[in-house]
């Protein structure tokens, strides 16, 4: 009995490890590729690490694929970072204020606003892409951080998350604060906000990833190289890379492009999982 159990257990672990290996395989390939020079990669793929690791990353960060016309990846990473942070912080601030208003006040059109926000769940950016582009263009916001971030800053899921959470905060806490003399904003700042910390952290992880991984919108809104984000910038490098075959640099960029969000997920795993589960309810 025990030996077959042990065997089963080993088998289970083996398959799981295999699964992890298969999932991680593309990254391994990319890492290897980013450690060689361009010529080594043509022909049979080298299954060992080369010694151009630091060189490649330095080149890519500083000059990018100059021959391909791509900008410095360092700049692109910066743009991605700004975009992701602004969207994450913006979304959280706007949503938490709206949720606070909807839950803790009674005012005309309250339900109307609620449904307005709710409907946006059904309007992904791809569906309204052309006119949104036009709006940004008309506002003269192309090629700017504002144009990159503003349309993506309102979100129904974040508002719902906070609303759901606020509904679980005991009524007596609000009453005690009122008796203590706290007005609504004081209550929000001193009591509600600290209690929302874990929800904010969870949401931050999810939204940061969302912002960092934006593709279609930056593609349309940025026309100058200096404003490219790294996720969309890769595509241009790829289309040129074919002709120039500088795959080592492309792969280095790819690794750089996925590193920040992956790090955020791994380091903040607990909040990430909580955020996923909460936002999907």
């Amino acid at each position: 009995m025990t030996s077959s159990n042990r065997l089963m257990s080993l088998l289970v672990h083996a398959i799981l490890i295999l699964g992890i290996a298969v999932v991680a395989f593309p990254i391994l390939i990319a890492l290897i590729a980013s450690s060689h020079d361009a010529l080594t990669l043509i022909g049979k793929f080298p299954f060992y690490f080369g010694d151009h690791f630091l060189d490649n990353y330095r080149t890519v960060l500083g000059e990018g694929m100059a021959r391909a016309g791509g900008g410095a990846v360092g700049q692109m990473l910066m743009n991605s970072f700004v975009m992701a942070i602004v969207i994450a912080v913006g979304k959280i601030v706007i949503s938490i204020l709206s949720a606070f208003a909807i839950v803790y006040f009674r005012f005309p059109f309250r339900m109307g606003f609620f449904w307005m926000i709710f409907i946006t769940l059904m309007l992904p950016v791809e569906v309204r892409i052309l006119p949104t582009y036009q709006v940004i263009a008309n506002l003269n916001l192309l090629n700017s951080y504002t144009g990159l971030t503003l349309p993506l800053i309102a979100s129904a899921t974040a508002t719902f998350l906070f609303r759901q959470f606020f509904l679980t905060v005991p009524e007596e806490l609000t009453e005690a604060a009122r008796i203590d003399g706290a007005g609504p904003m004081r209550f929000f700042w001193d009591v509600l906000l600290p209690l929302s910390r874990t929800n904010i952290a969870a949401l931050f992880v999810i939204v940061f990833i969302y912002g960092w991984n934006q593709y279609l919108w930056p593609l349309l809104v940025t026309q100058e190289e200096s404003m490219y984000t790294v996720v969309m910038g890769i595509q241009r490098m790829v289309t040129v890379a074919d002709a120039q075959a500088e795959w080592n640099l492309v792969m280095a960029t790819t690794i750089l492009a996925l590193l920040p969000p992956v790090l955020v997920v791994v380091l903040m795993q607990r909040w990430f999982v909580k955020g996923l589960v909460e936002t999907e309810k």
Binding site: F105, L121, P261
Partner: protein, 293 residues
């Protein structure tokens, strides 16, 4: 639903919701409304001549072989992505749920692909399958398969399916694992005492109890495939070769921005909008039932 205890301020709540409402109106409702309006017009490439054509854009699309082909491709694509992402995730989740120790380690090691952008996933897979330098492409050639996704439409489709499914596996794994851990152990044990072997237990007890999660994930995966994989297509195949991977959301972009056919593209957007609404309503309906479950 609201609180029993509320504040009385008259002006403050409006101030608090205004940023969100403002952005929502300017960047959601107005563009969506304009998309609907554009879909009812046709204009030439320079936007000089604008004619109201009613529903003819829609009628044209519904009879356009290119559009119908794109529709079919998208459906096939989203089903394929859903299946390819769900089955490995389910297997891994079942295995991870079975072991006592180390489940968290495996969890950490399996969830990070979610953080990879679809476009980046596309590039990774593109590199592996590149006919010239790709490692997997070289293996395929060794086995005798003539691999060139740039020429072969089916191969291109396979490639984008794998690239898109790859990163969804971790998302599905997380939810399957949570769903499995929510099944009371006592039910499984009761079945074991009743004489059911592991396979029968899985199919008659675990799977049915997992069905709300499964259904939910199917919808999410299909929505993901429909809308969020634009980056994969754009980075890897640009809709080709010869329209083999021209999914609906890509077509909207292509026709609108590249082809500059505003009317048709807007009409396609509206159709997509209707699909989203249907899928969202379905999801909400079922999620409600899931919660009652």
């Amino acid at each position: 639903m609201h609180k029993r205890v509320t504040f009385d301020n008259k002006l403050l709540p409006y101030l608090l919701v205004s940023p969100q409402i403002l952005v929502t109106i300017v960047f959601f409702f107005i563009p969506a409304g304009e998309a609907v309006v554009y879909s009812l017009f046709s204009q030439d490439a320079f936007g000089i001549e604008v004619n109201f054509v009613g529903l003819s854009n829609f009628l044209f699309l519904l009879n356009d072989p290119h559009y119908l082909r794109s529709f079919g491709i998208t459906i096939f694509y989203s089903v394929a992505v859903a299946v390819s992402a769900l089955i490995p995730a389910l297997i891994l989740a079942v295995l991870a749920d079975g072991i006592a120790k180390g489940a968290t380690v495996y969890k950490t090691l399996l969830i990070w692909p979610y953080a990879v952008a679809p476009a980046v996933a596309g590039v990774l897979w593109l590199f592996m399958f590149n006919p010239a330098v790709g490692i997997v492409a070289q293996w395929l050639k060794l086995v005798g398969i003539d691999w060139n996704y740039k020429l072969n439409g089916n191969q291109a489709m396979a490639l984008v399916i794998f690239a898109a499914a790859w990163k969804q596996i971790s998302y599905n794994f997380l939810f399957f694992l949570a769903g499995l851990q929510a099944i009371p152990k006592s039910l499984i044990e009761a079945a074991a005492i009743d004489g059911a072997g592991p396979v029968r237990r899985f199919f008659t007890i675990v799977l049915p109890l997992l069905s709300p999660t499964t259904f939910f994930l199917v919808v999410v995966n299909m929505v993901y495939a429909f809308f969020d994989t634009f980056g994969v297509i754009h980075a890897v195949t640009l809709g080709g070769p010869a329209g083999a991977t021209n999914i609906l959301v890509y077509k909207v972009f292509n026709d609108g921005f590249i082809g500059l056919d505003l009317g048709s593209s807007s009409a396609q957007s509206v159709i997509l909008l209707i699909i989203v609404v249907i899928l969202t309503v379905v999801q909400f309906r079922y999620v409600e039932r899931k919660v009652q479950y």
